[in-house]
Amino acid sequence: MSENSTAAVETLLGTDENEDTQKDKYLTFHLAGEDYGIEIRYVIEIIGIQKITEVPDMPPFIRGVINLRGKVIPVMDVRARFSIEDRGYDDRTCIIVVNIEGTEVGLVVDEVSEVADIPEKNVEPPPRTGRSTGSRYIQGMGKIGEEVKILLDVQKLLFDEEMQQLLGTVDEAQE
């Protein structure tokens, strides 16, 4: 599974990775029946689910750490991040490895679908519901024909205040 996905994303991402070709491109994935997308420029690779080593004192959505070819990277379960009910992992579960400002983090999602081209004019601003925990991380709603992809703000997903606070308390527990 993991080889397939990696190969797939390589073809999807193409070899030419400059800014222009990555513009308006989103990696889309399934999560609890919805389609989500994240900007392709953050994505490093996609791997199959693998053994995660739990780390104590972490918020529930930080599942632990994995070994990515000698690098130890933390893994965040996006379902848990949105407080969506856990459904366990299967052979379609993928880890999308993203890199933001040098920090690499794995995001566990139900299934990776494709790289989609969503031009700016087809992106609507996020809805102002404010009801679910997840909507804070929405960057916009992308339309491809009739389909709707929820575009996520990876930056917020990873470095939200709440996350900072949690990490902060862990830090203080050190003192």
């Binding site: 080593t53 104590p56 004192d57 000698g70």
Partner: protein, 760 residues
């Protein structure tokens, strides 16, 4: 110098800056030592610093630096000769000269000129001169004034009193000499290949010049003479005049070899005299004037014609002379042959490179881009893991592979060696950092009016270079604090029954896979009440703080803006410093321990993790999870029986090991895992020691010992109590490495939430 600076010159200047900085850094502490005891060797070392700085700066035409260095040199020379006595002012003055030089170097580094330093240079030089004058006035003249004047005027090489040259100096002369000569040789070869490139020439010249200086300083007259002659030749070549032979490098190389032999001679304890010195000097002399003309004169050609020919020298001299009918072709041929044979005989002097190999062993450094090193180290780290994966490959389980095992063991050994080697590459001893602090302590103690002995220990302890850079500032702040707040003024100390002089200890050592850098003083200690009062007034804690431990209270001094100092001095008291200490330590994932005894002093440990450390680890298992314990912390392990276990009323479990009772910490609680069994008698208790603290860790099973490459948990995760990092196992999985020091804290944080105590 300021006008057209090409890349080559820039390179030379940069080298000069780096070299001079190194020298200053090395010698600054020694200058301070000067004040304490005037060891002639220290004196000479400092003298040499200013002398070489003067030389190099002069060569590069940084006149202002030259001026100051020269003045400092004069002062030192007088002191060294006993003509004036050293007073503390001189030490301060020399320190100031070092500061000036540092500043000038910075200027030079950015502008390639020191013109802007003119004002400071004037002041500095004037002060130094004044010091000389005053000292001379105060000291009863040893001899008549003219004598002194002479010493001031004359450079170093001319009139040095016979120095006591000991083996160490001799050794350093040899090391330095060999290096200079080898550099010169490189330069010579480069110059031979590309004689129009000025850079190797300049380098070459500088090397020979410094070598000459050293020889003169040590009084090796013969070597000095030869080097001087070489310098003359090189100077000629540098200024663009043609030399007598078309490849002067050969005879110069021959001379270099002579010098190298002489240096070897010295390293073996002899006097370094050069056999047939005069002959060699003449040999070099021959390079100087256009030689063919002279030979022709000898051959009977009219000297006037020859010089006329030289005047119009466009073609080879010989051809012109033939054209003009002033010399016969035969004469020219003979002359050319003579010239040729002269060259050949010079060539013979060039020894085979093999003979140079016998030159005394020396240390050689190369500068490498840090990024490359990091990559190398990362790669090696990954290789260790890959090796583990290969050797412990699950596919091989149960197979009898004798040859494979052998090959595998061999590879493991090599990988281990490679890894150890790689780890040492980035490591440098803390000595340099510590020695820099000598100056700081000297300055501060003078300012604060306190008497201090700075004791350094563990200077040879090696730490990663970037870590050294990160802890420099923290150390400065900690020392300032100790000196300014910690140590009492002399009278107060005497009143408290202590010695007038305070002691500040700066030490480094390895402990539990970390490096501990400790700043300890025997001053008044931290004032718990004062800190508490301040914390309450700043609203940092709730209540009266009586429930806080000493440790918690002491840690408050690291909060930003926290200062209990009654008054802000220009040394410290603003409460900025300690905050920096904490921030920088956090950057390198270090920790700080503070301890203090009122009236007896305080002690601050900086605990610095090794960057790419390999530790001996003991793997333990709880349920389906494994974790690694540093083997160093393990005292013993045993399977307990029921009588050994006691439960206290407040729920703590204690294990009795012989005469001692240790608290039991359950690893499954820390990792939040389900163990095989919660019954203590079913598992293993491991007695761990962290500093003075001992306790038992309860695990299901000990899996085995293994070399462990420490990897940090991602920055995203940050510090986790009870965990110091993680490692990658042979099967590709990740295992946490437990931090013995914070396990107890980790369990205390959890005790409230965890399951009801139903065990044992």
């Amino acid at each position: 110098m300021t006008m057209n600076i090409d890349d080559d010159q820039i390179e030379i200047i940069q080298e000069f800056v780096t070299e001079s900085r190194d020298m200053i850094e090395q010698l600054e502490p020694q200058i301070i030592e000067l004040g304490q005891d005037s060891d002639p060797e220290t004196m000479n070392a400092i003298f040499r610093l200013f002398h070489s700085m003067k030389g190099s700066a002069g060569f590069l035409e940084f006149d202002h630096m030259t001026r100051v260095a020269h003045a400092a040199e004069n002062l030192l020379d007088l002191i060294r000769n006993g003509e004036i006595t050293l007073v503390p002012d001189h030490v301060n003055l020399l320190c100031a000269a070092c500061d000036f030089a540092k500043e000038a170097l910075e200027m030079v580094e950015s502008n390639y000129a020191d013109d802007e330093m003119v004002g400071d240079a004037d002041v500095m030089a004037e002060q130094l001169h004044q010091a000389i004058e005053t000292a001379k006035g105060n000291t009863p003249p040893v001899e008549e004034t003219p004598e002194i004047d002479q010493t001031v005027e004359v450079g170093v090489t001319a009139e040095l009193p016979q120095l006591e040259i000991n083996d160490e100096m001799r050794q350093s002369f040899v090391t330095e000499g060999v290096e200079l000569l080898q550099n010169a040789e490189q330069g010579m070869l480069a110059w031979g290949e590309k004689s129009d490139d000025p850079e190797p020439m300049a380098d070459l010249f500088r090397n020979i010049h410094s070598f000459k200086g050293n020889c003169g300083f040590f009084g090796f007259a013969e070597m000095e003479k030869l080097a001087h002659q070489m310098e003359t030749v090189l100077d000629r070549a540098k200024s663009g005049s043609p030399l007598a032979v078309d490849n002067p490098a050969d005879s110069l190389l021959a001379a270099l070899d002579l010098l190298q032999n002489a240096v070897t001679d010295i390293s073996e304890g002899r006097d370094g005299n050069i056999p047939d010195l005069d002959e060699h000097l003449t040999e070099l002399q021959k390079l100087l004037p256009p030689m063919i003309g002279e030979i022709l004169v000898e051959e009977g050609v009219d000297a006037d014609h020859v010089s006329a020919a030289v005047e119009t020298q466009k073609k080879p001299v010989g051809e012109i002379l033939i054209d003009q009918g002033k010399a016969s072709p035969e004469q020219i041929n003979t002359a050319l042959k003579k010239q040729q044979s002269a060259k050949n005989s010079q060539k013979k002097l060039v020894k085979s490179p093999a003979s140079r190999a016998s030159t005394a062993a020396r240390k050689q450094d190369i500068r490498v881009d840090l990024g490359k090193l990091d990559n190398l180290i990362n790669l090696i780290g990954e290789m260790v893991i890959a090796e583990n994966m290969l050797i412990n490959n699950p596919d091989l389980k149960g197979l009898e592979l004798e040859n494979f095992t052998k090959a595998g063991q061999h590879m493991s050994k090599l990988v281990r060696e490679l890894q150890e080697m790689a780890m040492t590459i980035r490591m440098i001893p803390v000595a340099g950092l510590f020695r820099r602090m000598i100056r700081l302590v000297h300055d501060i103690s003078a300012k604060a009016g306190k008497k201090v002995d700075l004791v350094l220990s563990g200077e040879e302890t090696e730490i990663d270079k970037t870590v050294i850079e990160t802890i420099t500032d923290p150390l400065v702040h900690l020392l300032r604090n100790s000196l300014d707040h910690g140590l009492e003024p002399p009278d107060e100390r005497v009143a408290a029954g202590k010695g007038e002089k305070g002691t500040v200890t700066l030490s480094a050592r390895h402990e539990e896979g970390e490096v501990w850098v400790t700043v300890k003083d025997d001053g008044r200690g931290l004032n718990r009440e004062k800190i508490l009062e301040k914390a309450i007034s700043k609203g940092l804690i709730e209540g009266d703080g009586s429930d806080l431990s000493d440790k918690e209270i002491y840690n408050m001094i690291f909060m930003p803006g926290f200062s209990t100092a009654a008054q802000v001095t220009d040394i410290s008291g603003r409460g900025v410093g300690m905050d920096v200490v904490k921030k920088n330590l956090e950057k390198i994932k270090g920790k700080i321990n503070v301890s203090s005894t009122p009236g007896q002093g305080s002690r601050i440990d900086l605990r610095i993790p090794l960057t790419l450390a390999i530790i001996d680890g003991m793997m333990v298992r709880v349920g389906d999870t494994t974790a690694i314990l540093p083997t160093l912390s393990i005292l013993e392990a045993f399977r307990p029986n029921t009588d050994q276990i006691t439960q206290t009323p407040d729920g703590d479990e204690l294990a009795r090991v012989r005469e001692n009772f240790f608290q039991i910490i359950r690893l499954h609680k820390i990792l939040e895992k389900e163990p095989d069994s919660r019954e203590l008698v079913d598992g293993i208790l491991i007695v761990l020691e962290h500093q003075e603290d001992r306790f038992c860790l309860f695990v299901d099973e000990i899996v085995g010992q293994q070399q462990t490459v420490i990897k940090g948990l991602s920055e995203f995760i940050g510090n986790v109590a009870g965990v110091s990092g993680c490692t990658i196992l042979g099967d590709g999985g990740v295992s946490l490495i437990l931090d013995i020091g914070s396990l107890r804290e980790s369990i205390e944080g959890k005790i409230s939430e965890q399951e009801p105590a139903s065990e044992a």
